[in-house]
């Protein structure tokens, strides 16, 4: 057990900063409403350090308070899909040696999402933050379908080309659209019995590997992902599946 609490300036002081807007005009009672609200959330030592009108019927608050809540950090597992990344040469060598052919990967922004910069960063030759994209690897054959790809089209493409991995990107998260689209993709693959033998990867700024696992994906990559993290992951996973 290693209970972890927020740390202000002393172990276990539980210090947390909050801010929010309330749909009420500002006066001293509004500050008090904010205080009571945060106290009701279960915080103690609630200090409303800022409360002010931001418009006629809305007030904005900054609050510091303490929480007694703790989590047992020793039990929390969130294994990363990102391990010690290999170099391009190492990835290519691994694929050549264990798979013996190029791996076909298809990437797309699925659903209505048009934010291609992220998936392009992973796939395009140019890459991201000085790290070359998968197109640069000898070990990959890359298909980048671009933006707003219906999951049906993606699944059809994957089957027609017999790809080894699908890379789905979701940047817009409003109203849970990312979860809905990711789920639709996974379910369609299951429904079409196309899931087996396919590496299914999710990515986007709000994606975590844990979330991806919950959605039935093999791996999930979030903000700051570098192409080599993804390349290494694909190469290792598919190599591991090879007989011998």
């Amino acid at each position: 057990m290693s209970l972890v609490r927020p740390y202000g300036d002393t172990q276990d002081d539980g210090a947390v900063q909050l801010s929010f807007t309330l749909p009420i005009a500002w006066d001293e009672a509004a500050d008090e409403a904010a205080r009571q609200l945060v106290a009701k959330m279960g915080f103690s030592d609630v200090s409303v350090v800022e409360g002010r009108a931001i418009s006629a019927g809305f007030s904005f608050f900054v609050v510091y308070a303490r929480t007694l809540v703790a989590v047992d950090a020793s039990t929390i597992r969130a294994p990363s899909a990102t391990g010690a990344a290999l170099s391009i040469e190492q990835v290519d060598e691994l694929i050549a040696r264990r798979v013996g052919r190029k791996l076909k990967v298809v990437g797309a922004c699925i659903g209505t999402d048009a934010h291609t910069v992220g998936i392009d960063a992973i796939l395009n030759m140019k890459g991201y933050k000085g790290d070359y994209g998968l197109e640069r690897y000898r070990g990959f054959e890359v298909f980048n379908l671009g933006s707003q790809i219906a999951v049906e089209d993606l699944v059809r493409f994957a089957r027609e080309r017999d790809v080894d991995a699908i890379l789905a990107s979701q940047v817009v998260t409003q109203k849970g659209s990312d979860i809905a689209n990711f789920t639709a993709l996974a379910e369609l693959l299951e429904a079409e019995n196309a899931r087996e033998g396919l590496l299914l990867i999710a990515g986007g700024p709000r994606v975590t590997n844990l979330l991806a696992a919950e959605l039935g994906y093999d791996g999930g990559f979030g903000r700051g992902t570098l192409p080599r993290d993804v390349a290494t992951f694909i190469a290792r996973r598919i190599s591991d599946r090879q007989p011998g």
Partner: protein, 514 residues
Amino acid sequence: MELRIDREAVARARRLAGAIVDPVEDFIERHSTVSVERAVARLCGVDGVDGAGVPLANRLIDALPAREAGVARALGAAIAESGRTPQQVAAAVAAGEALPDPAGTPETALRAALRVHIDAGLARIDAARALRTALLARLPQGEPPLLYVIVASGNIYEDRTAAVAAAEGGAQIVAVIRSTAQSLLDYVPFGATTEGFGGTYATQENFRLMRAALDEASERLGRYVMLTNYASGLCMPEIAALAALERLDMLLNDSMYGILFRDINMQRTFVDQHFSRQLNARSGIVINTGEDNYLTTADAVEQAPAVLASQFVNEAFARRAGLPAAQMGLGDAYEIDPDLEDGFLLQVAQAQLTRQIFPDAPLKYMPPTKHMTGNIFKGHLIDAMFNLTSVMTHQTIHLCGMLTEAIHTPFLGDRALALENARYVMTTARHFGDEIEIKAGGRIELRARDVLSGAVRILDGVAQRGLMRAIEDGTFADIRRPRDGGRGYDGVFAKDAAYWNPFADALAGGAVPA
């Protein structure tokens, strides 16, 4: 603060931009599109949707026996025959009636029949403009940089709440972000809408609701709060028409955005932008161009010359449409990597360069977005440096950056913090830009020089190949678009000899009432 810039290079860039757009203008002159025609119908009073939700303007244009002659002749003929109003004609078409062949009506008769509706349309535009002028005189808007915020809840009523709150919090311009990819719809949705996606549909009713709420707030606050929406897309001309009628004050209107970033056919876009800008000119609407898009999709340091080149092209097209400089909100954005050493210097260089090259344009300055992260504290600081750059270099239209840019479409509280940020920085450093000089031959000046010469190089290349060919080659934003590919191509057509667009004729002079 003044950059010493190569005036000859600027003149050259402007000449090149003229040379680039002139052949396109010839093309534009000879063509029309379904959206241009729908805009004409709307300006004549056609409104509403059929039972399936399809706008009557669309039904009418789709029913034209020969669109090459334009909708005006058909409408004029129908009116002359039936004595109906344009709206009644459209409703009848939607109900299944066929339009009469205009050839059956003498040219003078059909023109005369439509006259009153044309004049009424123009009169509404002019009245809206006159009202804006009067309101601005009575309720002065305040000094630039004009603080511009977006609302984007998807629900026009929540947007209205947010817009009024923002106005009370200091916003001088409110933009209603459009539901995602509305630009790809080949019609304008109808009525008050509450179910947008990442934004709220641009509809005439939504425009009206918002303008009314902001008018009320303007009166209460004693300063006129402007309203903005998006034109670029498959319905540029219609949105321009509706915005004119509902007294929007600005519109996102870029001569190439749709082509590059939405894969809209280039011929369609060129024809549409021209007519939409003629309408903007008449209605006194300030256009906002979309150069920020070059920067959000590629490296901002590298793309600076492309931004400037695009500004010259937008300016040239705008001028051909009769827009005065005072209505050219040329775009730029603060998108350089915040961790780049001396990135701020590069931003100042570019912002000041733009300011000096387009001295009379109400420049539109877009905030950092691409490099914003979940770290709202750092994001707020990046926005502060953006605010500082804006006030130093006298940008006109200042889109306030949100500390939550990377997280969600703005919360009401985010907007208040963004306005506070801009107000603080622009007050404490109000005249800073006026009290310093840029070191001659220093990094800032050299950067400005490089950006300008890079832009001239791009324009030179485009002028040699022709704009359409250059776009096919991926000159802009590394994006290639075929001349006859992309969305909406089937909506473009060559005008025939009988073609008549009474509004285009009325607006052609670019003559703008005071």
